[in-house]
Symmetry: C2
Subunit: 713 residues, 2 copies
């Protein structure tokens, strides 16, 4: 989206409402009413061919009749008039359209047909459309409530601006979160409902928001992303510009996926892919509704933390223990107070309290003077990156405490987070409205804080760049795949599969192809004993199930006898024309798996895991999108539950993790160059030696994509 | 605690406050002020030798001067007067004393000495003491605020009674949770701060609360339980009387343990033991502060669910998806609507909405008429155990919706849970005060609901009973241990260890003891090849590290040669006097570990896990307290992350889980009979065959307790 379109959505000089109703309670009348209620100051033109005025405003029969340029048109007509309405917008060169009308692809086949008509109207024009089937958009900076969301029917808050944009694939959930946040005085700067994403997709709007200097972070509710590549691009962009992201991605479970199918017909996608993508790009994953508002508040209000060392002062020693537990869960460390700093702290506390972090002030924490002194020390203490205050109740002390906390927040150059449990709830709202992040529960506050910390870590880590395509190598690889396709093979044989891997620099076991058992014995002698002998036959993906893998043969005789036996046991159709693959036995090491699988939305995805039983018992794999940096792979490996096996472990030396990283990066390059042509690729096992001894792909399966159309872009 | 003492604490006819101050803001004056503020109707006698009246009430110089029986004395004097104050209570035969004064064992050695003096005063008397160093007790039913907790300084709520008692080892945390709950109109019937637990311990008070017919559940904040046996007894009692329990146990992490040590000096205990104990007795573990109030609200208000099938109706399709995800995480299933019920549901919804669960009512859910109809169907639908409504905002519709929800709740005989996200917050408080469990976040509501469901499942499961002690068997076992002790052995040799196991019916591998390699070869021939030959020497716990384990020997010659080699390689001091253990090789199976370890608080604890690498990589063990029922063991096995290996798995048959259960129960009996005499016992591996093939302990280490004093109780 270009910046003119974006501005037309977020800060339009004029708005036309096509289908505006005189009844402000009806869907068609609400937008006009809300624009007025929240004080939008641009021009507003109701379009209604049947009335001279709408809700007291002059109405026009159509857009042309307005006679002035319109930046934003909101279409609230019934679906059957939507095509004409959009045509009028395109004709009038309206840059931005919000299509609230529903009854399109989300409803039935007839609706889908109507949506295609809308797409046809749009083709070639510069008009951009949000929706259809969305609840609209709120842009707080321009007091624009271009929405039908009845959450705007409230008299509790005036809109509060803030740096966090909220993008949602569910209108109602968006309305809930926006309302909850504003009630808590958390400023969400915008609420944007993407609806059917006929024209503007979630990733495209996200990209545009990230380019807005007023936006400091983006939060979102996601059911399913259709264009994974665009989404990943937007995530990389966020990392480049250093703006934090947090998403509540639903459809994690089979029940959730089913509910999405019945809700919007969208595809939830494979959750493990989202998990991997979020981890890769430093996106905070949100698990609940309130947690979204908690995150937005923290990221909007808190100063950037320089590190993850927390000091907490509290009126509850027990609360301090709870904070320490939560911190451990979330990877936040407790700041250490030593030497002169410990002495200073001791000086600020009564004798019977110990000068340690968590700083238990017991009852004295309710005194604003005592608290001020400890807060000043936390602000100055060089070992403290984030200061937290955990208090509770204290109805009678609210006002002086609010002043002390506000003052301390203003005078500190590090983040201060307040948790005020119980009590009237007023201090939390008051502090938030003064710009101090304040919470009602220590766990929720720390969860949000850990998101802030993760975002600042991620912002410092540039996303991996894709290496340039090696056209020569790609041509060779394609020739291999074409050969297999021509031979009508669904699966590349092991020899070709490893040749393909070798092209990209994945280390593979040395090997020779033999025509018959005696030839195999001769090759084995060249390679050196012990060897493995494997069946090499067309379209056999799982040769070990056929008895086609012989391991640890230690003499030429043994090779020749065992191979003859094997061939004799095979079904005739397999044995005929079968050849034999001879490989030296690889020294035992840690068995890992490395692969590529295709995701519907994201395309080729890199799979990393421990081999065999581990993966099956624990479903312990990590997924990442190519390209991957060495840090991406190292981080993914560290998140395997079985990561300890990479050692040193139980007397076994540490494994050659660098070799795994190199192999994963090589495979990512392969995926980037050939991704569209490969349905699945599995290296299992990749045997990983001790540090310095490298890694080696011992077996591999490659399934080319049936209808792959090579492209050179 | 007998019921008279309990009644004196919870429903005293008269209260004396020893050390009452005229200044109601001071610690010494608060209790008197709060008793008045919250309308306690019994007699109140301030004791203060220096004033004729205190806060306008007639004061007495001492207890004797009161001249009337006192049920409850609250001691708020400085520590130096506490001994005399307690002496006066004992002399006056006051049944219940709350000792709020601090400056005892929690402070320093001098304080600890003073606490011992208090204990001496108490010895032999019938006076029971809560504290010292506690914030007191609130008993809502008698409007008794016998506390110094400044959370009582509020004018927002009147005390609301409820079935949940709240027991806390942190005064301030207790005050926070109590205040937060009352503000939300969640009735906590009591708040009891246990302080230093000099006399009345957390488990003892818990036991007494469980016997109170007005108490329907107990929630608690725990830092560390000193008497694990009493605690386990109270948990069993809760299961017997079918009352749900939930605990926020802190000190889960090393940081938390450190914070506890500095807070109260208590021992946090091993967290994995608490995890195991809570799982065993169906206790809900709580992770955060608000979650405690969420649980209390659900258990106090919701009807018992007949099962775990949830139907949810919502104005947000996206919210429905989120609910489905949360349910999957929490083991709650989504009810299925089929046939006539689906038709009825379709009849209640506009045509464009699909009649499925989650029931997405979209905008129509905000209409009270439409919602009433769907609520009625959810109430009647036989496949729905729990009904949930998820709505949000709707400021203008609050009143009619509250009426419809309240009505539906009253007319249903299953639990109805309301989640109202965003909006003014008033409906949530109003519904709660009408007895409808209402929440602001679907995840929090479902978390609390899963606690309720777990409690009802646990209530139906009787705790395992300890079998009678088999004194003959115990005498034999003790003889074995005594023999080892007399020989000065720190570790039982494998032969004796397995003899001990055999006594209790744990299946052990067949074996013979040989004096030398040739004798071993002869024994092996009797047992049948292949065999294992192991070093049998004093005080060697890890013989495999010494090269003292030979496996798979298949002839008499092989046995004799290999055993001679082994002995020759051993250090002379080990080899001298060493004997050999000969065992037939056990058919390969799943290797598990089974053991007993001692916990400081809970005594002997049963350990279950997968053998070897699994346990070390994942720290994947489950702990349970003896005695264990077959269900306890089965449940523990199912919670192992590696549980899938019990199969059927990867072509391997399902393992003989019954044999594992029997072995675990046998070991639990051993722990019960000999627990005090055993420091550690490890069966590793227990080889588990396919179903019907049994299990077999192949190796075992038993470390007797050094200073064990056998007792016969």
């Amino acid at each position: 989206m270009n910046s003119a379109s974006y501005e037309a959505f977020m800060q339009p000089r004029s708005v036309a409402i096509i289908g505006a109703s005189d009844d402000g309670q009806k869907t068609g009348g609400r937008t006009l009413r809300y624009l007025d209620k929240y004080g939008y100051e641009g021009e507003v033109h109701p379009i209604n061919p049947r009335r001279p005025t709408v809700q007291g405003k002059q109405a026009y029969p159509d857009l042309t009749a307005v006679g002035r340029p319109v930046d934003l048109a909101v279409i609230v007509t019934p679906a059957e008039h939507s095509v004409a309405a959009l045509e009028s917008c395109v004709a009038a060169e309206v840059p931005a359209v919000i299509m609230i009308s529903s009854g399109f692809a989300e409803l039935n086949a007839e609706g889908a047909q109507r949506q295609r008509e809308l797409e046809a109207v749009l083709r070639g024009s510069s008009t951009r459309v949000l929706g259809p089937n969305c609840v609209g958009l709120v842009s707080v900076r321009s007091r624009l409530a271009a929405t039908i969301n009845t959450g705007m029917d409230q008299d509790r808050f005036d809109l509060r601006d803030g740096g966090i944009a909220f993008l949602t694939q569910s209108g109602a959930m968006g309305a809930f979160v926006f309302n909850m946040s504003q009630t808590r005085r958390v400023g969400l700067g915008s609420l944007i409902s993407t609806g059917n994403e006929m024209d503007i997709s979630f990733p495209e709007m996200m990209h545009a928001l990230l380019d807005d200097p007023k936006v400091t972070g983006v939060a979102g509710y996601i059911e399913g992303i259709r264009d994974g590549e665009a989404f990943a691009g937007a995530l990389r962009h966020a990392q480049e510009v250093g703006k934090p992201l947090a998403f509540l991605k639903v459809g994690r479970s089979p029940l959730g996926v089913e509910a999405i199918a019945s809700h919007t017909g969208a595809l939830a996608g494979t959750d493990a892919v989202y998990t991997g993508v979020f981890e890769q790009y430093g996106v905070t994953r949100i698990w609940g509704v309130e947690a979204l508002a908690d995150w937005a508040q923290m990221v909007d209000l808190a100063r950037p933390p320089a590190g993850n060392r927390l000091s907490v002062t509290t009126t509850s020693g027990g609360g301090g223990v709870l904070v320490a537990d939560h911190c451990t869960d979330l990877g936040i460390s407790m700041a250490t107070w030593e030497g002169e700093w410990q002495q200073k702290l001791a000086g600020a506390l009564p004798e019977y309290l110990s000068a340690r972090n968590p700083i238990d002030m017991a009852g004295t924490g309710g005194s604003s003077e005592a608290l001020r002194e400890v807060l000043a020390l936390m602000g100055e203490h060089p070992g403290t990156d984030v200061a937290m205050v955990l208090i509770g109740n204290l109805d009678k002390e609210e006002d002086p405490l609010i002043e002390v906390l506000d003052e301390a927040h203003r005078s500190m150059d590090k983040p201060l987070v307040v948790v005020w449990v119980g009590g009237s709830g007023r201090p939390v709202v008051e502090l938030t409205s003064r710009g101090v992040p304040a919470y009602t529960d220590p766990g929720r506050a720390l969860q949000a804080l850990s998101g802030l910390m993760a975002a600042h870590r991620a912002a410092g880590r540039p996303p991996a760049a894709a290496p340039p395509v090696d056209t020569g190598r790609r041509a060779q690889a394609r020739a291999l795949l074409a050969e297999a396709r021509q031979a009508g093979l669904g699966v590349l044989d092991e020899f070709r599969a490893k040749k393909l891997l070798g092209l990209y620099g994945v280390p593979v076991v040395q090997e020779a192809v033999a025509q018959d058992p005696d030839h195999a014995a001769a090759e084995a002698a060249w390679l050196g004993f012990p060897v493995a002998v494997k069946l090499l036959a067309d379209d056999v993906a799982h040769k070990s199930e056929l008895g086609g893998v012989l391991l640890g043969l230690s003499s030429a005789d043994e090779v020749s006898v065992a191979a003859k036996d094997m061939l004799a046991r095979l079904p005739r159709e397999v044995a005929e024309g079968a050849r034999l693959l001879v490989q030296p036995m690889v020294a035992p090491g840690l068995e890992m798996l490395l692969g590529i699988k295709r995701d519907e939305a994201f395309g080729p995805v890199l799979v990393l895991g421990l081999g065999g039983t581990w993966t099956e018992v624990l479903e312990d794999v990590q997924l990442r999108l190519p390209p991957v940096s060495p840090e991406d792979v190292t981080d993914a490996l560290s998140r395997l539950r079985s990561a300890r096996l990479l050692g040193p472990f139980r007397g076994a030396p540490a494994r050659d993790q660098e070799a795994v990283v190199a192999a994963a990066q090589a495979l990512a390059e392969l995926a980037l160059e050939l991704g569209d042509e490969i349905a699945e690729l599995d290296i299992n096992p990749l045997i990983v030696g001790a540090r310095g001894d490298g890694a080696c792909a011992v077996d591999a399966v490659v399934i080319p994509r049936a209808a792959a159309v090579p492209s050179d872009h």
